[in-house]
Assembly symmetry: C2
Homo-oligomer: 218 residues x 2
Amino acid sequence: MKTLKIPEATIMRLAVYSRYLERAEKQGITTVSSAAIADGTGVSPAQVRKDLAYFGEFGTRGVGYHTGELSSNIRRILGLNRCWSAVIVGAGKLGSALALYEGFLSRGFRIVGVFDIDPKIVGKHLGEIEVLHVSQLEDVVARKKAEIGIITVPASAAQEVGERLVKAGVRALLNFSPHVLNLARDVIVRNVDFSLHLEVLTFNLVFGKIKKEVAEEK
Amino acid sequence: MKTLKIPEATIMRLAVYSRYLERAEKQGITTVSSAAIADGTGVSPAQVRKDLAYFGEFGTRGVGYHTGELSSNIRRILGLNRCWSAVIVGAGKLGSALALYEGFLSRGFRIVGVFDIDPKIVGKHLGEIEVLHVSQLEDVVARKKAEIGIITVPASAAQEVGERLVKAGVRALLNFSPHVLNLARDVIVRNVDFSLHLEVLTFNLVFGKIKKEVAEEK
DNA sequence: TAGATTGTTAATCGATTAACAATC
DNA sequence: TAGATTGTTAATCGATTAACAATC
């Protein structure tokens, strides 16, 4: 069986193109070229065409791509032509901010449950939704058919929460904790620990300086 | 001039190893092997050794790595052996959560300024720090010598905020907005838009299903 | 010495890019 | 037809992995 392997970077870029196209659409631009998309998103035109070619032929030679058409095609590829139900575990500062984040709803993500273990937090209202005790996790996930789990608990609790979510039926996890989850391989996990990103920044700040000094010595 | 190019993925992994080592240290484990690190962080042992080899020889053949020593070496490589000053622009839900996030301080990141444009938000206190009007951005960045800018404003304002931060002296940006920043090439930017990550999840949920169906047809 | 594990090289794998035929 | 831009191939580039000599 021939399995075509699509680079993960391609998917990330498709999401970026998608945002660019939505902006272009709003501005009334009806046709875009790979060069324009490339320009607006900081990649190469060849990269744009290659990324799109994994999924079909969306353009017209000599003309370019129809903005709205390409936009909706990419949204379909990314699975954004439907709603997704997600639960958040951990209603601390980050979890609460995410529960109230309008950007989710506008892109089709519905938060159908927020959980915490702290009795001081359980019962709080975050917009429409009430924070429930984590003991109700399994029940709510099953009843609301949540497919995505968002983990915003401390590192020490992340593994257990991940396991419970998966056992309850969740198939994809967004992990904000710094703990690397060890789960069945068919579970889709993305780590978005942002202090990790901060550390890449500081490395580059320090290393950039070293490179500059080395260059000057020569 | 020979410039050794270090993969960005290597830096991300170093940060992950760093967390693993800190945990191991706390548990009183004094020696770790590349296989143990690999196991605990989900990469291959060869990868671990290769990543470390970019920066020096930290282990002892036949023995492994001294946990504390390797841990502090990696922290030094990542630039975490010193404090870094950062400002946050945008004190909405996400910006506020980040300003109050204890994880930053514990890893040496100090938030020295939080800004917003909304008069309803300016003047609020987030822990020790008061939200200032964005007009004071340049002044505070210069006075407090902030080196890192964290952007948590809506997409429409991100580019302008990025430009102002850089002009004020910030050299590295953590961009939480979905807008791709277009700045001088020596500015270090990392995009941590998490709806992007959510979309990679949904793609994989949909695509995994397609792959499975294709496999079953055969 | 025998067993273990590193550091490093060479081979492999995968992703990006350049180039161009196809075609509007 | 001339100009433009796609879709695709082949070449290049870079990152990962396997293998093993070095060495504790």
